[in-house]
Structures are given as structure tokens and as C-alpha cells.
């Protein structure tokens, strides 16, 4: 695979810059509308919090046709006084370039890792190109723990609506916490800080021709850092507001991407997660505050309808994956009315472990297996929404904590059946 640093135009810029303390990467694809704000926030953050550090901004682009890279190259902070910067700011060198390799966020990040390695950067950060809520403080919160050598990896911690991020809340966070023993609250947040050493470690891995390059990069970065003994922390960034993803985006495709990557990493690090017992909190930076969030409409009736269709039509698959015992409990749920519907935490944790085992044993093609989880996931989500409709954010967070404890308690079931 061609390296981006071997391209002549990139080589010229790298030779001119020489070295850098900080590299901030922004992957993009047709984000001309939103990337300007992100670039200004990053420039302001670097100016305010790292004036004495040499920084480079990298826009790793997937072949945009709306002038995204031109926006990046031409964006400047117009009014320094407004952001309370009174010292002279040197413009941050910008490298805006298409990346090499399979189309996907992972390939975009790989370009950032390569440039960071070439510049011998001490600290790096990556942020999404469609963020509306990014502030200059995000830059400080993602980079300072790394520059102070207190952390190799900084995950984001957002304040989200209690009904948002349900794949994270009901699957990825409880599962990765139980497996690897670290409480990284948002392992697939997408905005990370990491050391130059960790960037080189990532680069050395032979994953750039796999699904990691396409869509599994977030969970891969977090899990790789945790599983390989790097110091992991998280920073409170406030609300994450970004462009709404296409409402027609297929939920089962999203579920497949995330869960497939998570299960795939279990195959890579069995000796790590088999040993981990319980879980420990990770150091959290940032001043935590309440954020006003917009109301989220949830169509519980539709979710329960799909759950019941799954029960009717995917019976054979679910019995093969879950076994008669757990399937019997799921079947009993199908007879419950909407208002009384309650999907027990213990059952849900066993279902996820059953799916992980079925994935490991290749009982079905991976895509069929994980997509068949969709109706069960919607049933669990509907149950959570019904139970938490009158609860506040902290009440919902307590429920998620109880779910995580259930995952940790039932880990033995996974260990006993993993062969």
C-alpha cells in the first residue's frame, strides 16, 4: 500500500515543516459546509492553549467534490481578540490531501498517523469534520493529558440525551468494559487524543486492508490502546452536536459495522480479555457540567413491532444462536403488551455473549448473524426508553451502570463457552 508521505507534494511540505509537537487530523468527505467551523475551533484551540508548541493541521480527505479541502486551506481566524488571544499567532501549517487506500475513516486516520510519524509528533488529536459543538477547549482537553505524559490515549466523554447512543449504551460500552476491565464511557466517540508513540504503534499494525480501514477504526483505536497496556483516560467535552446522519441510514448496517468490529477484536485479544476481572474507572479530565439537550422523539411502537416480527420470522436463527433457554425468555417477551414490556438486563447480557460465541464459532456468515440481532436490539432499546421516560440523565446513567454490572457478572458464561 502506498504511503502518503511518499508523495512529492507531501514530502515538500514535511521537509519545510521539519518536525512538530502536535498534529491535529480532520478526516473529511464532502464536508465543505461544516469543516470551516471545525478548522477555526482547532486553530483557536492551538493558539490559546499551545502557543509555544509547533502544530500542524492535517485534513485527510476521501475525494470530496464540494471544495472541502479548499475550505480547509483558506480558513483563518479573522478576529483574534474575540477568542481572547492577544499574542501573535503564526499560521498553523495545513496539509489538505486525499488519503490512500480503501475508502473509509480508517484510511483517513492512517494518513494522519503517517504524517505524525514523519514529523515525530509528541501528541495527536483527531476530530470529526461535521462537528457543530466543537470549541477550542476540545483541543486542550484532548491534547494536554498527552503532552503532560499523563496519558497515551484520551477518549471523549460527551453529555448526550439519555436516548441517544443506544448502541454504545447497550452493547459497546458494557461489553468492552466487561471484557477489558476499563470504563471508557464512549469507546466509539470518534474524537480522540493520543501520543506520537501510540500513533506509531497503530501504524505498525497490519489492518489497513480490512474492515478497520472502512468503518471499525474508532473501536479499534480504543481497544488496541487498552489491550496493549497504554495509559487510557477520557476528557469531558460537553455536548456532541453534529450533522444528522442520513435518516434513511440502515440501522442494521450500522449495528453490523460496530458489533462486527467489536467481536473481531475479541478474536485478536482473547488472552487479554480472558484475564481481566471486574473493571476500573479511567482518569477523567475536564469540568463536567449539565447541557441542555433537545427532546428526542422515539417511536417505541415501531421498535416493538420489529422485535415481534423478528420473533415470528427469525425463530430458527435465534434458537440456533441463543439456545432454547434464553430463546424461551425472549419468546415470553413477545406476548407482553407495549406498556408492560420489560427486557431484563441479565437476558440482554447473555444474548450479547451468545452472539459473540456464535461469531467465534462461525455458526452463520458474520453479516447475517449480526444483522439478525437488530430486532433484539430494538426490543431492548424500546424497553430502556419505556423504563427511563420519566427519569433524568443521572437516572438513565444509573440504569446503564446496572447493565454494565450485569455484563461483568455474566462474563463467566462467556469464558466457560469460549473454545
Amino acid at each position: 500500500m502506498t504511503k502518503i508521505v511518499e508523495r512529492q507534494e507531501i514530502r515538500t511540505i514535511l521537509d519545510r515543516v521539519g518536525s512538530a509537537d502536535i498534529v491535529v487530523g480532520i478526516p473529511s468527505f464532502n464536508n465543505a459546509r461544516t469543516i470551516g467551523h471545525v478548522v477555526r475551533a482547532v486553530q483557536a484551540g492551538l493558539a490559546k492553549y499551545f502557543p509555544g508548541h509547533k502544530a500542524v493541521l492535517v485534513n485527510s480527505d476521501g475525494g470530496s467534490r464540494d471544495g472541502t479541502m479548499d475550505v480547509v486551506r483558506s480558513t483563518r481566524i479573522e478576529d483574534q481578540a474575540a477568542i481572547l488571544v492577544h499574542h501573535r499567532i503564526d499560521p498553523v501549517p495545513v496539509i489538505a490531501t486525499p488519503y490512500e487506500g480503501i475508502p473509509g475513516k480508517g484510511s483517513a486516520f492512517r494518513a494522519v498517523f503517517e504524517i505524525s510519524d514523519a514529523l515525530n509528533a509528541k501528541a495527536c488529536a483527531v476530530v470529526d469534520s461535521d462537528l457543530r459543538s466543537i470549541t477550542p477547549e476540545w483541543v486542550e482537553l484532548l491534547l494536554k493529558p498527552v503532552l503532560r505524559e499523563e496519558a497515551d490515549f484520551v477518549a471523549p466523554l460527551y453529555h448526550r440525551h439519555k436516548f441517544d447512543g443506544t448502541i454504545t449504551n447497550s452493547i459497546v460500552y458494557p461489553l468492552t468494559r466487561a471484557l477489558y476491565g476499563r470504563r471508557v464511557r464512549q469507546p466509539i466517540g470518534g474524537d480522540f487524543g493520543f501520543s506520537g508513540k501510540l500513533a506509531r504503534f497503530y501504524l505498525a499494525k497490519d489492518v489497513w486492508g480490512t474492515d478497520v480501514a472502512r468503518f471499525g477504526i474508532d473501536i479499534w483505536m480504543t481497544t488496541t490502546a487498552v489491550a496493549n497496556g497504554f495509559t487510557v483516560s477520557q476528557s469531558f467535552l460537553g455536548a456532541k452536536i453534529h450533522d444528522t446522519k442520513d435518516p434513511g441510514a440502515d440501522l442494521s448496517a450500522m449495528l453490523y459495522q460496530v458489533v462486527n468490529a467489536t467481536f473481531g477484536l475479541m478474536e485478536t485479544y482473547p488472552e487479554v480479555w480472558k484475564k481481566a476481572q471486574g473493571s476500573e474507572p479511567v482518569r477523567t479530565y475536564g469540568f463536567q457540567y449539565a447541557v441542555g439537550l433537545e427532546h428526542v422523539n422515539v417511536n417505541v411502537e415501531r421498535m416493538l413491532g420489529i422485535f415481534r416480527e423478528g420473533l415470528r420470522n427469525l425463530r430458527e436463527i435465534w434458537i440456533a444462536v441463543l439456545g432454547q433457554g434464553d430463546f424461551g425468555e425472549v419468546e415470553a417477551l413477545g406476548n407482553t403488551g407495549d406498556e408492560a414490556f420489560h427486557f431484563p438486563r441479565g437476558l440482554w447480557s447473555r444474548i450479547i455473549y451468545d452472539y459473540a460465541l456464535a461469531y467465534h464459532q462461525r455458526r452463520l456468515p458474520a453479516e447475517h448473524l449480526i444483522k439478525s440481532l437488530t430486532p433484539l436490539y430494538l426490543g431492548r432499546t424500546a424497553s430502556f426508553v419505556l423504563e427511563m421516560r420519566d427519569a433524568d440523565q443521572s437516572g438513565a446513567e444509573e440504569e446503564i451502570e446496572r447493565l454494565c454490572e450485569e455484563f461483568e457478572k455474566n462474563k463467566e458464561y462467556l469464558l466457560n463457552n469460549w473454545k
Binding site: F163, D250, V296, N299, I306, N313, I317, L364, K371
Partner: protein
């Protein structure tokens, strides 16, 4: 003299038969040697194949692929690995018999043996079509089933089974066509069955599904105007 002539007349047929036997005996011996050798070889292959399929968990794989279910439906109650072992064993035996018969160098037998070996590639490609086709039909049917369920369609299983049925009919027609079993009849029968299934589905969903379609459209419009789903799963 008369006695001598009589003895000659009596012994001559025996001499001719014996001479014929002497000419034929090496061929017979070759055939028997080939048969015995072939049987021994077939038994060795059977034992090795049985061990190999057990080591590869062939029975578990067959369960997952649905071959076991297919066998049970066909009233075959042996384990899939054992069935494969038996098929290979008897194939080798028949193969050995054919080679052995050709050693006799009898014209009619040689013609039969030649036709057998000419037909063999068709049998192998028909078996391949059936196996690959069955697996592909199951895969596509399951893909359709899961996609429709995840989108909330009530008749997901019916549609998925219809897809499987159509593909099975296609695969059977292709296999029979390979075997050159009444090809014109097979093509005609396939066209009738396939076309009939498609028309039946069209009528069922067109005429019979009018009410269901209306409910789906009304439900979709109602969902758009109220109860919109804002949840961000990721």
C-alpha cells in the same frame, strides 16, 4: 482310425475352448487384479476420508449449511459425513469395475465403459451445481429474510421462502439439463413452473395484497406526520 477320428471330434471343442480360455485368461486375471486392487484402494480411501471429515467437523458444518435437514427430508438418516464416505466408496468401486471390465477387451463392454467415462463430467458438474446452488439459495433466502424483518415487513418469511423456492427450481433445472435428462421437457417444465410461481406471487401481492398495501402506505404516512424517530443509535 474311426476311433481316432471320433476322439478328435470329441476333444476338438475342448481344445478350442481351452485355447479361447488361454487367450482370454490373462484379460480375466487382469480384471480380477484390478477389481481386488480397486476394492482395497476404495476401503483405504473410505477409512482416510472418514477420519478427515471427522477432523474437519463436517457434520457440524452440514448442520449449519442445512444439508442435514435436506437429507432428513429425503428420508436419509445417516450422518452427512458417513453419507459422503459411502458415496465416494461406491463411486470408486464402480470406477474400478468399469476399468476392470475394459481390461476384458470385449467390444460391447468397451463401448459401455467409454460412454460411462464420457458421461462422468456431466454427473460431476450436475452435483457441483446442486451443492453450490443449494448453498447459494439458502444464503440469498436468509439475506432477504433478515433484511425484510429488520424493515418490519410482516410477510418476510413468505417472501424469503419464495426466493428460495425459485432458486431451487432454477438449480434443479440446470442440474437436469447438465445430465441431459429429457432436456426439452425439463426446459418446458421449468418455464411453466418458474413462470407460474412468478405469476402467482404477482397475483397474490397485486390483488390479494391491496388491503395490506393500503395499510402499509397509510401507516407510513402516519409515521411521517407523527411519532417520528429522532433517536441517534450511534
Amino acid at each position: 482310425m474311426i476311433m481316432q477320428d471320433f476322439l478328435t471330434l470329441v476333444l476338438e471343442p475342448f481344445r478350442e475352448v481351452f485355447a479361447g480360455f488361454k487367450r482370454f485368461a490373462p484379460n480375466m486375471l487382469a480384471m480380477l487384479t484390478i477389481l481386488i486392487g480397486g476394492l482395497v484402494f476404495a476401503r483405504i480411501v473410505r477409512a482416510l476420508l472418514r477420519k478427515a471429515l471427522t477432523a474437519l467437523s463436517f457434520d457440524a458444518w452440514s448442520d449449519r449449511m442445512g444439508f442435514t435437514v435436506m437429507m432428513r427430508k429425503g428420508d436419509l438418516w445417516t450422518k452427512p459425513a458417513e453419507a459422503v464416505v459411502r458415496v465416494v466408496f461406491w463411486f470408486l468401486v464402480i470406477f474400478t469395475i468399469m476399468i476392470g471390465l475394459s481390461a476384458l477387451k470385449v467390444h460391447a463392454v468397451n463401448t459401455l465403459v467409454a460412454q460411462f467415462f464420457l458421461y462422468l463430467p456431466r454427473v460431476l458438474s450436475a452435483v457441483l451445481i446442486l451443492v453450490i446452488g443449494y448453498v447459494a439459495a439458502g444464503f440469498l433466502s436468509r439475506t432477504v429474510l433478515i433484511a425484510l424483518v429488520n424493515n418490519g415487513y410482516h410477510y418476510a418469511k413468505v417472501l424469503a421462502e419464495a426466493v428460495r423456492l425459485l432458486l431451487i427450481v432454477l438449480i434443479l433445472a440446470m442440474a437436469l439439463e447438465q445430465l441431459q435428462v429429457a432436456p426439452n421437457i425439463v426446459v418446458a417444465a421449468f418455464s411453466i413452473i418458474f413462470g407460474g410461481i412468478v405469476i402467482a406471487l404477482a397475483i397474490a401481492f397485486g390483488a390479494g395484497g391491496i388491503e395490506a398495501a393500503r395499510r402499509i402506505i397509510e401507516k407510513g404516512a402516519a409515521e411521517k406526520s407523527e411519532g417520528k424517530d429522532d433517536i441517534q443509535h450511534l
